[in-house]
């Protein structure tokens, strides 16, 4: 038993950290709303998008643990919302790796590893959230193509080249049968990508597809056999980067720094017992979150079974995400409700750079996105061998 990374992994961690610091500096030079294309091409050159792909598909041939280390660093150091890079790593690529044909893997994975294409993941539909099998997006054969009609929600397709998505290619049998996975070129005629505005301000997208022509050769794996890929994706959805506690560790450290210097009526708030206990409990839970995360990665690396696989880390970190960001407001009292004003006198008043309102709202989403908390609980229960309800 050893609770340390190897020297090689430590070097990797440092390399990633330094790389991200440089990228953040570069991006500061860009106009505020500009999409950071160079981040993707730079990261492509490192090969790290393929850190968990086999070498024959353009990856570096490392394990999920290395992917976990990379995601840890992206969570705090990435110059833009982490899921944009992490989804490529954590979902899009595994869908192809685990369910694609040899040809699919050789065609798509090297391009993803090199950052040459960004692939978003189209899971959710208006009537398909937790119920992954309830795919309504329809794909009908037409010569060498499929004609696709439907809507996908909450994805990252803005400025992405492709979307990997589940479509219904057969309506005859049970809904789990007749699902296929397609790589759809987001520049195809008939596709409209529009912004969904969310509580925490980051853009998510609706992708509306009307009579979109997709070549059959863009099928990933076998036709009608895509349920496993879709279900596997949901089960594994975002657990590495949503289980990774580094983002919330960063928030915790921000709270701790604040508490150490803040006073209330001349006395340090760090002396208030209820605040001390709050921070102590959060610190304890963070320690657990980190250990649960790395254990999930280690089990997968070793091919060992576990109760629910990544479900436990995803659920635990998600619940803690909300509690930590509620604490961020709690310790600052009324000031915690202040976002940092863009200009003027009010700019100086918000503590912690005015992050607490937005992070608090973000925290609410974590038990919903990437398959909800109750679905994760179902997985953990199944992993314990408990029978399904009738």
């Amino acid at each position: 038993m050893r609770f340390r990374f190897s020297e090689e992994q430590e070097r990797f961690k440092n390399d990633v950290r330094n790389f991200l610091a440089q990228e953040r500096e570069k991006i500061k030079q860009l106009p505020r709303e500009e999409f950071p294309e160079t981040f993707y091409s730079d990261m492509g050159q490192t090969g790290w998008f393929g850190v968990a792909f086999p070498k024959e598909y353009g990856g570096t041939g490392h394990s999920r643990m290395w992917e976990g280390i990379l995601l840890d660093e992206l969570n705090v150091g990435a110059p833009e919302p982490v899921w944009t890079a992490a989804l490529i790593l954590g979902i899009a690529a595994p869908m192809i790796l685990n369910h694609g044909s040899e040809e699919d893997k050789k065609k798509w994975l090297p391009l993803m590893a090199q950052g040459k294409i960004r692939v978003s993941v189209g899971c959710t539909e208006p009537d398909s959230g937790s119920d992954v099998a309830n795919v309504q997006t329809r794909a009908i054969e037409d010569g060498d193509d499929f004609i696709v009609n439907g809507t996908k929600l909450y994805n990252d397709s803005y400025k992405y080249q492709y979307m990997i998505t589940s479509v219904r290619t057969d309506t005859a049998g049970p809904k789990e049968k007749g699902i296929s996975i397609l790589m759809i070129d987001l520049n195809s005629p008939g596709i409209t990508v529009s912004a969904m505005s969310t509580m925490w301000g980051f853009r998510r997208n609706e992708v509306a597809m009307e009579d979109v022509r997709v070549p059959k050769k863009n099928l990933i794996g076998e036709r009608d056999e895509g349920y496993d890929a879709a279900f596997h994706t949901a089960r594994n959805a975002e657990w590495p980067h949503m289980g990774s506690p580094t983002e919330i560790k960063g928030s915790f450290n921000t709270i701790l720094d604040y508490v150490k210097q803040a006073t209330h009526r001349g006395k340090p708030i760090s002396e208030i017992p209820s605040i001390r206990h709050l921070l102590a409990e959060l610190a304890l839970e963070l320690e657990l979150a980190e250990l649960i995360y790395y254990r999930a990665l280690w089990l997968e690396e070793k091919g060992l079974p576990s109760a629910g696989g990544g479900a436990m880390t995803k659920l635990y970190t998600a619940l803690l995400h909300y509690r930590i960001h509620n604490a961020m407001i709690d310790v600052t009292g009324q000031f915690g409700q202040l976002a940092r004003a863009r200009t003027g006198e009010a700019r100086r008043l918000a503590p912690m750079r005015g992050l607490s309102p937005i992070m608090f709202q973000y925290g609410v989403s974590q038990t919903i996105a990437g398959w909800s908390a109750d679905m994760q609980r179902n997985r953990i229960a199944a992993g314990l061998g408990l029978p399904d309800a009738e």
Binding site: T124, D127, S128, G129, S130, D131, N134, L153, Y154, M196, S197, T198, M199, H264, R265, S274, Y322, N326, I329, D330, G333, Q334, F335, G336, Q337, L338, A339, R340, A341, G344, E345, A346, L349, A350, G354, S356, P357, F360, Q361, V364, S365, T367, I368, A369, S372, A373, D374, R377, A389
Partner: protein, 393 residues
């Protein structure tokens, strides 16, 4: 409850009756229907972006219906209602997410003048507030962000027939649109912090006052207000020189109780929205409301909403009856603040992804609940009061 049951914490010997009166039920229905029609969510969203933060047209309609003067005596242009009647109205306002200065003008302004004002001050201000002509704000909290007397350091120095006010107030709701502010100032040193506090009625257009609107989680209209040598006539003292803190204690109790009522309305509406959603939303071939996990969420929510309702109404009733109730008010504010947050969070969980978009209404409730939780003392503050005053610790 068995008939004739005596509750030791309430009026000894009185029978418990947990129903509203017929008039209060009529008020509730009228307010609910009016606000459902005249304060739709489109207006709520619009006012989150609007600088004034309220609709003058709606304000006039509310005045016309007698809502602004509900709890003022008829001789001051009001309807002669009680604080309990006002509590019923505040619950409906919380349910509808009414934007604007009602709480500032009526609860913080009007009721304070009614409580502590001279006859001349009541005659001057209360009818104007009832008619919707005068909006008031309360400037209490300072950068120390406390709700106790020791947190008041803004100075009011005597200068012939006037006082000169100097200092900064924060989180002053509706300061930027008000006509008058009640400013809580320090006029004396020595002795305990509660001594030497005076309330001043300050004309909002006085030279030396500046306002900065704050960017808040609930997109409500709170301001930083700087008083830079602001001259106020001594005739504008409210409630007597150095006598202000005993008035403020009652103001804060009414404010905490009133804010709790808004949260009751908020959480009730979120419960109803969530039930409706869970009945309609189908996954795995059935409504999600049929799943045990979701049903258990609802059980917790319903318990939280019911508990909040009765603990908040108890506080409002005791204030209405003029009973000492510092501990009951703080119990209500502490409990309801956290219960409302739990209910709104669970509502989000039930709504899933759709609830996370700004287009959906539930996030309006969630953000407003957070602001209400923090106003007039958060749960930590009020638990201290319960420990000190309720339990004698």
């Amino acid at each position: 409850m068995p008939p004739g049951w005596d509750c030791p914490t309430l009026n000894k010997g009185a029978k418990m009756d947990l129903a509203l009166s017929e008039e209060q039920e009529m008020l509730r229905k009228m307010a609910r229907d009016f606000l459902a029609d005249r304060c739709p969510k489109t207006l709520v969203r619009e006012m989150e972006e609007d600088e004034k933060g309220y609709s003058p047209e709606l304000w006039r309609e509310m005045a016309g219906l007698g809502l602004l003067g509900l709890a003022f005596p008829e001789k001051y242009g009001g309807s002669g209602g009680s604080f309990l009647d006002l509590a019923v109205l505040l619950e409906e306002m919380g349910r509808a997410l009414l934007p604007g200065p009602f709480f500032s003008a009526v609860v913080l302004g009007g009721l304070t003048i009614l409580d502590a004002g001279s006859e001349a001050q009541k005659q001057e201000f209360l009818p104007q507030i009832s008619r919707g002509e005068t909006i008031m704000a309360l400037a209490l909290t300072e950068p120390s962000a406390g709700y106790d007397a020791a947190s008041v350091s803004l100075r009011a120095a005597a200068d012939k027939d006037d006082y000169i006010l100097d200092g900064t107030k924060l989180f002053v709701s509706d300061a930027h649109i008000c006509h008058y502010m009640i400013c809580v100032a320090r006029t004396g040193e020595g002795g305990s912090p509660e001594e030497g506090i005076t309330l001043f009625l300050v004309d909002a257009k006085s030279p030396g006052i500046s306002y900065t609107l704050l960017d808040t989680i609930a997109s409500d209209r709170q301001c930083e207000v700087v008083f830079d040598k602001v001259r106020v006539p001594q005739t504008n003292i409210l409630g007597g020189l150095d006598q202000g803190w005993s008035v403020m204690k009652r103001v804060l109790e009414r404010a905490a109780a009133g804010k709790s009522m808004e949260m009751v309305g908020n959480s009730q509406q979120v419960l109803e929205m969530s039930v409706n959603y869970a009945k309609e939303r189908e996954q795995f071939g059935q409504p999600i409301g049929s799943f045990q996990a979701i049903q258990h969420y609802f059980a917790h929510m319903a318990t939280d909403v019911d508990g909040s309702r009765f603990i908040a109404y108890q506080a409002a009733w005791m204030l209405s009856e003029g009973l000492p109730c510092a501990s009951e008010v703080s119990t209500a504010k502490a409990w309801v603040s956290e219960a409302c947050r739990r209910v709104d969070l669970t509502g989000h969980q039930i709504h899933g992804g759709i609830g996370f978009t700004k287009d959906h209404d539930i996030q309006l409730y969630f953000r407003r609940a957070k602001a209400a939780e923090l106003a007039f003392g958060d749960a930590r503050f009020h638990r201290e009061v319960v420990a000190n005053q309720g339990l004698g610790l």
